[in-house]
Symmetry: C2
Subunit: 225 residues, 2 copies
DNA sequence: AAAACTATGTATAACAG
DNA sequence: TCTGTTATACATAGTTT
């Protein structure tokens, strides 16, 4: 090639190395393109110069991603498999835990009891009894706190009202308490109403989206090497 | 190149296309190798012939994975980002669902009730009451079934025994029933024991492993294009 | 089908502006 | 540092073995 036989050996002069790189890069790019056109080949050529400059040729019939995928398939090396597998594992673990949790809740709702032994059922019953007691206690605690507060408020208002009455004494013929309208609220606080709350128990009705991945992407078969 | 100016145009004859491919492939591989040595470049050349045959050249100083990673970094295109993101999303969704389920269970166990309003508490209580009733019903149902079965078995054995007695009549002076040893089992079936089962409620104690991934692998920065 | 040959066009090293 | 020129080694299409 060129004047005098060339030795294929690292060019020590950095400048002429860069020049040579530019020229030969153009040459090899052309070759790649010719190969693509002449022979219907799919070619991916990626080059980084010693200074880190990046150049690529890719056959117009494909994308670099396709080449990478194909490379992995053919070479048997799934470069990103470790990540992918790890994530998939995690996903599966989460799903498994999820299912267990769902099942537990269903059993606590009274569904899906068929698989349980009498022993299990007795355990569940006892557990639910004590849990129910805890919830009940908590409810009463909250109610009593609220009731106490209301009592205080009420007393306060009574006093205020009495004071007002004293201030206005003589003016009004017939004093009247202005406390009506609180009874309803009071009642609701005490839990006498029974328009039950349905906040619980059906959160888990939300359909679980199909989270299985793989396959539909070009991630290949992900078989083990 | 060669005898007569060659047109760079798809070779229609399949055989000579393959031959040309072989020859030129060798040529371009040589060029790639020369570029590597001469210019300190990092070169990745991947080719698939029209028949699908795979050939690659890779500079000895690097691995194909490194080239791919570098390619993604430089080109700003993270080829596998969509999968990765999608999986991460799924994982997060699963975790979220998981946490909700855990919380629900905790509340059904009587923990984590502080955030609940009186309304919620009343709903939870009612729900638990009815669920408990369902569980209790189921338990009794199972017990009665088993009891029925045992009764039948018992009756059957009694008859068998009576038959045997009749067959052996006259031989034995004093007939004795061989039914001892069943009482214990019977009792346990009837739920009289109270060495409670602890099957429930603490499945969710299993620690949730840290499933966050990314970063530690060479997956690059995964920033958006 | 694969290897060898060879005539000829290409790529490019060295050089010049 | 780029652009152009040129001599020459190289790659290779077509052919033969």
């Amino acid at each position: 090639m060129g004047r005098g036989k060339i030795e294929i050996k690292r060019i020590e002069n950095s400048t002429s190395r860069q020049v040579t790189y530019s020229k030969r890069r153009a040459g090899i790019m052309k070759k790649a393109q010719e190969l693509t056109v002449l022979c219907d080949a799919e070619v991916s050529l990626i080059m980084f110069s010693s200074t880190g400059k990046f150049t690529e040729y890719i056959s117009p019939s494909v994308t670099t991603k396709q080449i990478f995928d194909q490379y992995q398939k053919v070479s048997g090396i799934n470069i990103w498999q470790p990540h992918y597998e790890r994530m998939q594992d995690n996903l599966n673990k989460q799903k498994e835990i999820n299912n267990k949790l769902r099942r537990e809740i269903r059993q606590r709702i009274g569904e899906d009891l068929d698989d349980l032994t009498i022993h299990d059922l007795r355990g569940l019953e006892q557990n639910m009894e004590s849990s129910l007691k805890t919830v009940r206690d908590r409810k009463f605690q909250v109610i009593s706190t609220r009731t106490e507060t209301h009592k205080k408020k009420f007393k306060n208002m009574e006093e205020t009202h009495a004071k007002l009455l004293r201030e206005f004494e003589g003016r009004d013929d017939e004093p009247h308490f202005a406390m009506a309208g609180h009874e309803g609220e009071y009642e609701s606080v005490l839990g006498l109403g029974n328009g039950g709350s349905h906040v619980f128990a059906f959160r888990l009705q939300q359909s679980q989206p199909n989270l299985q991945s793989g396959g539909e992407f070009g991630m290949n078969d992900l078989r083990l090497a």
